[in-house]
């Protein structure tokens, strides 16, 4: 029994704006399942006395002073833009609503 369902794959694909043909959903579910399974080994290794962490180094409070640093020039900033109009990034018409 796979932990990741076909529906979940479809849902995540939709959230990620990926188009996945229906015939590939089962195959992807299986592949994702094996990834999740591999990670599960890690959670078994870590006992209840190990707190969850998002960072390997036990550091906290790393701050930056509120001092202005030079920004990019407009041309540098727009260098990798898919398209440009005046000094702005130009992107295709957006489907759906603003979050």
């Amino acid at each position: 029994m796979s932990a990741i369902s076909r529906d979940e794959v479809a849902r995540v694909a939709a959230l990620a704006r990926l188009s996945v043909p229906p015939e590939e959903l089962d195959k992807l579910a299986e592949q994702l399942d094996s990834i999740v399974e591999a990670v599960r080994v890690v959670s078994e290794a870590a006992g209840g006395d190990v707190p969850a962490t998002s960072h390997p180094i036990p550091l906290v409070n790393v701050f930056r002073a509120d001092e202005v640093r030079p920004s990019l020039s407009v041309d540098q900033a727009l260098l990798a833009a898919p398209a440009r109009e005046a000094d702005q990034f130009k992107v295709p018409q957006i489907l759906g609503e603003e979050p």
Partner: protein, 508 residues
Amino acid sequence: MSGDITLARFDDVLEHFDPVMGIEVHVELNTRTKMFCGCATTFGAPPNTQVCPVCIGLPGSMPAVNQKAVESAIRLGLALHCRIAERCTFARKNYFYPDLSKNYQISQYEDPIDQDGYLDVELEDGTIFRVEIERAHMEEDAAKNTHVGGATGRIQGADYTLVDYNRGGMPLIEIVTKPITGAGARAPEVARAYVAALREVVLALGISDARMEQGSLRADVNLSLRPKAADAAAQAKVPFGKRSETKNVNSLRAIERAVRYEIRRQGALLAAGQLVTQETRHWHEDSEETSPGRSKEQAEDYRYFPEPDLLPIEPDRAWVEELRAALPEMPAVKRARLKAEWGFTDREMLAAVNAGAVDLIEATVAAGAGPAGARKWWLGELARVANEREVDLVDLPVTPVDVAQVEALIGAGRITDKLARQVLAGVMAGEGTPEQVVAARGLEVVSDDAALLEAVDAALAAQPDVAEAIKAGRVQAAGAIVGAVMKATRGQADAARVRELILQRVGA
């Protein structure tokens, strides 16, 4: 726009339903730099001139937390009586939209920096309403999209979109209330008063410009209706209804209107036996309506996960206590203190607050005027002029020091109230200080009795019948002579002194 929407009468809805609100306010901080990079935050800079690899999300760039923004978040939390988290982290809120170059917004999720507070809000009649705060968390703002082409200029029908990342990465604090219940018919007023009070706190702390028209303070209002119960205890057991979230509410007035509108719209749906859809709605300032956006159930799945590029924050307790000790006096507390110090009645204080005159009166008093005199000018003549010019009192070209000087001139008997109006007009016309205006316009009271007597004699001679009447004991007839003298001296005489001289002269 949405002609098919039926609205129920507000009072009818409130007879059967209890409104429940949740308000989310985004405050853009006035730090010099962005939340996670050193780009400047100047409002109105040319497009894409305040951007760097971090805030346009180039691969390999790493965010670094702005300490000042954290300090502002802690100070706001303390002012809102929140618990400051012992440890808090950042999280990625994932969604795909060009206003987010990284496809995620760095925000806080499970452990926001400020938790469980409250704000006491004063309503128009002086009632205090406590709004409970669920949390306040730090996050980054999104970029500004401009939809080009299409019929409406909005999203639907746009041909393409231009993106300016200057705003992307600006530091925000989002303040979220717990469900606000028990406001009843006052829900629209409570919503407005809450945002107004929160804005005052933010301004008192000096952490944001909090300009709603520029978007540096933005409110989203959640509203639902539930059947009304017999009493508060029974009401508390009634589950909440489906809610709408109204976005784009960009003025205090609009908040009140939007809440009122949603109460009437949802009331009509429920009265007709229909269901309220859980959705985002947009407020339209022009038509004073809301229109539907996304359906919530579909869209709200952000797959939050911990931000691996940022380390946790554990605010040092000594730092927190230091910030607490240095908090400024909160506006509501300050108002209560000033009201007592000034000896104002509730009504007088309320009028001063509503006119935006409290700080002006305070500064005028500090410059030496009495509170009653300061109030008289700011809420009288100057309020009239401000109203006429359609500007705020604070924007009139007259300072508290000017007003205090006018009061001093009156106190010294050098000008009358009537002349003072001309003096203030002169100050506002850019003719200088009150002293300079008095000198330049020759407005000083004629206090020289000889000069006044001359005018009195002339007036009595011109109206012998009135002189006779006064002599015969009809003292009130002296008014006509006072008027004539005032006219002759172009209003620069002290009317009371003129009256005394008239009575002396006719021997009454």
